[in-house]
């Protein structure tokens, strides 16, 4: 960054701090955990998406996983986001989960 972001430029959303000036959970959390909790409760009340929305997170991380799988298989892959399956590559679909030792489950 060469210069500070100006007031009229695009800013990332910053969840409001419910306890300004107080560090409720200690310095290691820097107050951001509390802000996330607060934002989540606000989203429940307002029926709006929280700042860290689970679906956006899921779709974002999916792209990373797909890139990793394509990288490991050394071939281009076609992804159907509705079915959440690779198209025309059944062996690639076997990379979509991994065995878990009971009682760990998803």
């Amino acid at each position: 960054m060469r210069k500070p972001i100006g007031p009229d430029e695009v800013h990332l959303y910053n969840s409001p701090d419910p306890n300004p000036g107080k560090n409720v959970f200690g310095a290691q959390y820097g107050g951001y955990t509390v802000r996330h909790y607060t934002d989540w409760l606000r989203a429940i009340r307002s029926r709006q998406r929280p700042v860290a929305d689970v679906e956006i997170g899921c779709r974002s991380v999916t792209v990373c996983h797909l890139g990793n799988i394509a990288f490991r298989l050394r071939r281009p892959l076609k992804w159907d986001p509705v079915e959440e399956q690779f198209i025309g590559d059944p062996e690639a679909n076997r990379w979509l989960d991994r065995p878990m030792r009971w009682p760990w489950v998803l």
Binding site: V63, L73, R74, L77, G88, E91
Partner: protein
């Protein structure tokens, strides 16, 4: 979570620049024989290069259109899974077969379900879990009928849950009477995932008779079964499960669907 967006083609320019150590046919056999001793070396760092070369070839053979070569390679690998091969190599081969194996390797992998080494045994189970051939399901069911130890039984049951084959229901219903709570919970989860009428009947009957801890696990399986019914459009059957769980004598977490 599922919404129509677009077809995403994942293709990296860098993929085309990567050196491919993929080999086919007779050259796979030559490569395999060359790297096999190294894959089972006593010294873990010494295993790395041979395992990587082997892994790259297996991944290349999993590409569409290379089925004949893949089958041939899996047969070669399956033939080396016996106890004469060191365990680290056997486990590594199983890990590859988990991703590329079909019916051609089921018999060889199924034999390892009775192996003395617990890691080999567990990976054999996971390899069959991912194998698309129906014989793999039969092999797991056969192993479950004679399985010793609750952890091993739960591992086999969890594999059946992942496969979700209706053929597993009869054996799994019997496992609901297992003396170990963990196995019962795993079994209920498997039946909830399979969610055929017989599977649902078994878990909905079991939920009211179970201890509070188990009741919550079996109730969670009932809710999962209801979700599966909704996915299939069988709404009335799903409602029947929810109604059965939403009664005053039932645990509150189940009544509110908090599993």
């Amino acid at each position: 979570m599922k919404r129509p967006i677009f077809l995403l083609v994942v293709s990296f320019a860098v993929l085309g620049q990567m050196p491919s150590s993929a080999v086919a046919g007779a050259s796979f056999q030559a490569m395999f024989e060359r790297v096999l001793p190294g894959m089972g070396a006593n010294d873990p760092p010494a295993r790395q290069a041979p395992q990587q070369e082997f892994q790259e070839s297996c991944r290349a053979l999993s590409a569409p259109g290379r089925d004949a070569e893949r089958t041939q390679a899996c047969r070669l690998i399956a033939a080396k899974l016996g106890p004469e091969t060191p365990n680290p190599a056997r486990v590594f081969m199983l890990r590859q077969l988990r991703l590329i194996g079909h019916g051609e390797c089921v018999a060889a992998v199924a034999r390892l379900l009775a192996d003395k080494d617990s890691e080999v045994k567990t990976w054999a189970c996971w390899t069959l879990q991912s194998n698309p051939a129906p014989e793999a399901n039969t092999a797991i069911l056969t192993a479950l009928r004679g399985a010793e130890g609750p952890e091993w039984r739960a591992t086999l049951v969890a594999a059946l849950k992942s496969r979700a084959a209706p053929e597993s229901v009869d054996v799994l219903v019997g496992c609901l009477a297992d003396r170990d709570d963990g196995v019962v919970a795993a079994t209920a989860a498997a039946l909830g995932e399979i969610s055929t009428p017989k599977a649902i009947e078994a878990i909905t009957a079991a939920v009211s008779q179970a201890t509070p801890i188990l009741r919550r696990r079996i109730g969670a399986a009932c809710i999962r079964a209801a979700e599966r019914l909704v996915e299939r459009g069988q709404l009335e059957q799903a409602r029947a499960i929810y109604r059965q769980l939403n009664v005053p004598e039932q645990l509150r977490p189940l009544r509110i669907g908090h599993t």
